[in-house]
């Protein structure tokens, strides 16, 4: 299951020149600063840019090559646009039905009631788009795209036009999408936090070209890429909820390298979650620290030291079990501890953020 792309499209000011192969499963994040060609690439995949040259192949089916250009309405691709894109002359129900009615009944993967329930739209069905808030509109747009039973769902910064409250309201829905939709998603964003929360695979775009493609966990911690330099850079881990401790209001989750304490989370034991550890919340100690207030201390190995945008800081890429962990410490500490690749030490993790539920990788 792959989406193979080899595209070329000249645009005013820059040229989109992309060749890569994406896994057609899970959520693929498309990350880059504004103007890097994220939206243009997404539109090419959807078939909305007839001027693009090159090849697109989805699961072995050619959508575009030298001879053919499958038009957008025959690609069965769902698209959620950046700003509200509801049909203003139709109410919410008719908007939802627009896509549904154009799918042969045998091919429908979702019925109206289920979509309404999943995205919590029951009270909005008779409303006109103009009466909805920004967050409500995007929820309707997502449900409408899903109801067209797409084989691939493209989301173009669906949160960027929303206020923080609406964003927080939609994010859990997006995470649940992975469980509900069981189709690949491509999620465009220029907000690292959203990508860390949602993406499994990452494509890094720079000036119309692919700078890097790979699993999110790897790309986040690579010192040769700009992601590690972000002030809110960090690492993500897939984890399983193992134990709740109501006395101290803590939950314990298991990652490959050990056990982490997080703030108490109302979630069943055994549930898969994603945790995020910010690079600035990781400190390093050569000996196992005694008498410390920090709960999470795990053995780690230094893999790489790299300069940071801030000349007083150093980025340290560690290995926690088999997974990469990024730490940002002062350059002075790095020198004093004599850090070198291969060194074994202890990572003290001051804070672990547990993100909303995510599907187990095996569910894909």
């Amino acid at each position: 299951m792959t989406l193979a792309l080899q595209l070329s499209l000249p645009r005013a000011g820059f040229r989109l020149e992309v060749a890569c192969e994406l896994p057609a499963r899970g959520i693929t994040g498309l990350f880059g600063r504004s103007g890097s060609g994220k939206t243009t690439l997404l539109r090419c995949i959807a078939g909305l840019e007839p001027a693009v040259r090159g090849q697109i192949e989805f699961n072995g089916e050619p959508w575009q090559d030298a001879q053919r250009f499958v038009p957008a309405h025959l690609r069965a691709v769902g698209y959620v646009f950046q700003e509200s894109s509801l049909f203003p002359h139709l109410d919410v129900r008719a908007n939802l039905e627009y896509g549904l009615q154009r799918v042969p009944p045998a091919q429908r993967r979702l019925d109206l009631e289920e979509a309404v329930r999943q995205l919590d739209l029951a009270s909005l069905l008779r409303h006109r788009p103009a009466q909805l808030s920004g967050g409500e509109r995007q929820r309707v747009a997502i449900a409408r795209a899903l109801l067209s039973s797409p084989r691939l769902l493209l989301l173009d910064e669906p949160l960027s036009s929303l206020d923080p409250r609406s964003r927080a309201e939609i994010l859990p829905h997006l995470e649940r999408l992975r469980d509900v939709a069981s189709i690949p998603l491509i999620y465009v964003s220029h907000v690292l936090g959203e990508i860390m929360r949602l993406a499994d695979e990452l494509v890094l775009l720079e000036a119309g070209r692919v700078r890097a493609v790979g699993p999110l966990q790897q790309l986040l911690t690579r010192s040769d890429l700009p992601l590690a330099q972000f002030t809110d850079s960090g690492s993500v881990f897939d984890a399983v909820i193992e134990e709740h401790d109501p006395t101290y209001q803590l939950s314990y989750v298991r990652i490959s390298a050990g056990r982490l304490a997080v703030a108490l989370k109302q979630a069943p034991i055994g549930q898969h979650v994603r945790v995020r550890i910010d690079a600035r919340d990781v400190s390093l100690a050569l000996k196992p620290p005694e008498l410390t207030s920090i709960l999470n201390v795990l053995p780690a190995t230094v893999r790489e030291l790299a300069g940071d945008g801030d000349p007083a800081q150093t980025l340290v890429r560690l290995e926690l079990g088999t997974e990469p962990l990024l730490a940002r410490i002062t350059r002075r500490s790095a020198v004093q501890l004599g850090l070198t690749p291969g060194m074994r030490l202890h990572a003290q993790i001051k804070s672990v953020a547990l993100m909303e539920s995510s599907a187990a990788p095996s569910n894909w």
């Binding site: 959807a46 078939g47 909305l48 038009p71 957008a72 309405h73 025959l74 069965a76 691709v77 769902g78 698209y79 646009f81 894109s85 049909f87 203003p88 002359h89 627009y98 896509g99 154009r102 799918v103 006109r128 788009p129 103009a130 009466q131 409408r144 795209a145 067209s148 797409p150």
Partner: protein
């Protein structure tokens, strides 16, 4: 009002209705092409469509008379084919009126299609709607206000036309004499009472039509029905 005037009014309304209907049918695809097309001829066609706005109606009528007349470039082949020549007939009136009112139908439609924009149509495409499907379910409903404006303006404009109708129709009572020509005849003959009555009817109809357009437009705006 005497029966001759009633017949003239009837001819005017029949002409306006026929012209409006045909203009909507033929003007909509033309307006669509002007709005979304990328042909290099587009600007030239746009200007051509707008020509009747500035052209003296008698000029248009004169050309049509020459073109469609028994010896004309179009009239002669028509006669050869056995079709009756359309000058001095209701058909001729319709052809002349359609050309004369063309910009009043096409421009509001074109602007309405332009304001629908490409986004809604792209969304529809990703929801599996074919180009025809998108046109009828998205572009046309969203351009409804433009279509209404086009219809009313074409109707009212045809009702009021004089020069083209006189040129190509020839003022034949009961066949091509429209209300506006009858009005002119009355005024010429100093029959002011009859002229007043006809004027009042035409004024009233035009005002009610425009009232309808503005009323409907306001209501559509209120429910947020435009993109």
């Amino acid at each position: 009002m005497d029966s001759a005037d009633l017949i003239a009014l009837w001819i005017s309304f029949r002409l306006a209705a026929t012209t409006t209907l045909l203009l909507l049918l033929l003007g909509t695809p033309l307006a669509w092409w002007l709005a979304i097309g990328s042909s290099r001829w587009r600007t030239a066609i746009d200007a051509l469509v707008s020509l009747p706005l500035v052209l003296p109606p008698t000029v248009l009528g004169f050309y049509l008379l020459i073109l469609l007349g028994p010896q004309g470039a179009l009239g002669a082949p028509l006669r050869w084919l056995g079709v009756s020549v359309p000058v001095f007939s209701f058909t001729g009136l319709v052809i002349g009126s359609m050309l004369y009112s063309l910009p009043f139908a096409v421009q509001p439609l074109r602007d309405a299609f332009l304001s629908v924009g490409t986004r809604a149509l792209e969304v529809a495409a990703t929801l599996r709607a074919s180009p025809w499907d998108r046109f009828f379910t998205i572009a046309l409903p969203l351009a409804a206000r433009g279509a209404l404006t086009a219809a009313v303006l074409s109707f009212a404009h045809t009702l009021g036309e004089f020069g083209v109708v006189l040129m190509i129709g020839g003022n034949i009572p009961g066949r091509t004499r429209t209300a506006s020509i009858a009005l002119f005849d009355h005024a010429e003959a100093l029959e002011y009472a009859a002229a007043y009555r006809l004027s009042l009817v035409l004024l009233g109809v035009c005002f009610v039509l425009l009232l309808l357009v503005y009323g409907v437009n306001r209501r559509l705006r209120a429910v947020g029905s435009t993109a």
